[in-house]
Symmetry: C2
Subunit: 398 residues, 2 copies
């Protein structure tokens, strides 16, 4: 049978990262290509305790159907936390617990975009979100990232010239893949531009709690006086990605449509996970846990940057120091003798796997001289081994 | 701000059932409107044991990112079970674990349908699936259900006259809401018609294991020699709906596209739930558990039908005896003095809640003289109280 494929899905391809994971699955290959939390970052003991208690005392609550909006005590706990700590959420907003923040990208795009509508995003940006936008046949318009956020001139030009722009997608803290944090000035400017051109902002903040240096910058959503910002939060980096727990805080009319779409998509998010997250946030020392995560990732990030300085920088590879998150964006020198993609291929042949930067562009065929390194997943030994190999390769081929 | 809503979502409304749940939440109202498994149907002790073991011995496996296709041991276990027990799945097929069977409706529609394409379904049919199809702006074409399945003449006529029909959606066993089981003859005929008119079949089978009388009828998917059937399975009625676990067995090219869409939708399904289900299927006596469920539901269904015979039938309300599932479809007499919707409203005012049948039609404004009763969620006492009230009301107003 000739299978009919919808226009929106026809050109959709598995993400390039997935293809790379095939190499990374080879145990002899050092993978610096993932984005998993470090194994030591999971509060496994607390989760086991809470889970046992829930399954002993309220098993039906954890196993029965629940409401689409999410487990009410978790909605309240997240709402209190986000409004008090970050000023995210006003009386015109509401919250849904989602099946990971990834589902926020899906639900908001579905709710807002017709096929052919435009989504403005950072270039580079997170491939999972780009693919979600693509899966609704949105046109992606990438705005070059500078060291403090999007190029504002390019952004305003895009807002003036692109048709049916529905929203600006932004990861303002420790962006994936670039590691860039958007400055407060640029956050304000992007907000004003969105308002001026009557488009919304989808602010995705999975790494915000993982700051290892510098000062917190207010969320764009905390500046939202006009009801134009949709905020996507995640438990993946602060509790567990396998639980698939995220949330969205957005203007009530947007939330109402997203709830109806979620109902038709997965009815509600896994109840057990929601109950565990609620108990962990409210009965354990959540701030102490976050602080321990920052200690873990600061150590790993600092170690990684030391290795980069020692082994890659001498060959002309450069990178911007990060202040948080899980990724470092490395750039080949302008006079490199081989292309970035060729460098990444050679790296895999030498048993170390990084992600070619063009995977994160709106058009993968575009030129890109950067690649992404992850330091949260590998052990210190793997990190050192992998970066040494990259350094040797760089000294030979660049 | 004037929020832009996509064409596909613009007309989407929260399901009528949800509105009814608002009344049902009032503790003084007897709810016969839900579709939840009976509380005593959950293997809570086994789940607690397995969960404790997983969180003690492989916590990172349960909490870390996993693959989009699903936890490999669960994929294998479900595959083996479905191929051996039901002949569902061939060498041209593959399987994905989904976040409930609801996600199969979403992913398959997204993969296959452009806006305006037609989905043929039974009339009445499951509102959650209808809303999922609607959320992609599909045109719904309902085929009247007879006591042994769809009206084949109406089906062939629809296949001849409707434009861009992409698939036929069917719940062949103990259909929600009608309770109807499609006969083997009709299953074969529907399969041949789909083949003749080059459309696919989406076979949704959440209740198949809950047969309380009669003989199993082969799944349509087990007849599939041409790679035209997509089979949606669910753990919601046989293990736990709160876990949000379902699966799809479909031709490989369809599965490949669905995997890419799932990646952009929720990355993967909750890992803990997948691991628990795998251990429950393979290390516990799954068949004995299913058998105990059938005992529970046979008792409840038989009791419910006795009550209907005693309290409703004398007033002219009729229903078709069921052989399984969770629902009974009751029909007002042709000469009823009030409409079905008015009857349901009066019922709520008298503190018993059922679902008006038109909620399950492709066009809710259409005439319908039936309503749906659920017997799995209420206790025996609640069931008796509720049906007595309905009987009193019927004797007064019909």
């Amino acid at each position: 049978m000739e299978y009919v494929v919808s226009d929106k899905v026809k050109t959709l391809k598995p993400s390039a990262i997935r293809e790379i994971f095939k190499y990374a699955a080879d145990p002899s290959v050092v993978s610096l290509s993932a984005g998993n939390p470090a194994p030591e970052a999971f509060p496994t003991k607390a989760i086991a305790e809470i889970s046992a208690d829930i399954l002993a005392n309220d098993p039906i609550g954890a196993l029965q159907y629940s409401v689409t909006e999410g487990y009410p005590p978790l909605r309240s706990a997240v709402w209190d936390y986000m409004t008090k700590k970050f000023g995210v959420g006003s009386e015109d907003d509401d919250i849904i617990i989602t099946s990971g923040a990834q589902q926020v990208m899906d639900l908001f795009t579905k709710t807002t975009c017709n096929e052919g509508d435009t989504v403005i995003c950072e270039a580079p940006s997170f491939i999972g979100s780009l693919n979600s936008f693509r899966s609704f046949n949105c046109k992606l318009c990438g705005i070059p990232l500078e060291s403090d956020g999007m190029d504002l001139n390019a952004l305003e030009k895009a807002l003036q010239t692109e048709k049916n722009v529905r929203f600006i997608y932004i990861i303002a803290n420790f962006q994936n893949p670039s590691g860039v944090t958007t400055s407060l000035e640029k956050r304000k400017a992007i907000y004003e531009l969105a308002k001026k051109y009557n488009v919304m902002i989808l602010e995705d903040n999975p790494y915000g709690e993982l700051r290892i240096a510098g000062e917190d910058v207010p969320c764009i959503k905390s500046l939202d006086k006009d009801g134009i910002v949709v905020y996507a939060g995640s438990f993946s980096k602060v509790l567990s990605p396998g639980m698939r727990l995220g949330y969205v805080i957005a203007p009530k009319p947007v939330i109402q449509k997203m709830v109806v779409c979620k109902q038709g998509e997965d009815v509600h998010t896994n109840s057990w996970a929601q109950m565990v997250a609620h108990r962990f946030m409210t009965e354990y020392d959540f701030e102490a846990h976050l602080s321990s995560l920052r200690t873990i990732y600061k150590k790993k990030a600092d170690f990684c940057m030391e290795l980069l300085d020692k082994y890659l920088v001498p060959s002309g590879i450069s990178y911007q120091k990060i202040e948080g998150g899980l990724f470092i964006w490395c750039r080949l020198p302008d006079d490199a003798k081989i292309s970035m993609t060729e460098f990444c291929k050679q790296a895999v042949l030498n048993k170390v796997c990084v992600v070619p930067g063009n995977a994160f562009l709106t058009d993968e065929a575009e030129q890109c001289s950067s690649f992404r390194i992850n330091f949260s997943t590998p052990t210190d030994e793997q990190l050192e081994k992998g970066i040494k190999i990259l350094g040797k390769l760089a000294s030979e081929v660049l």
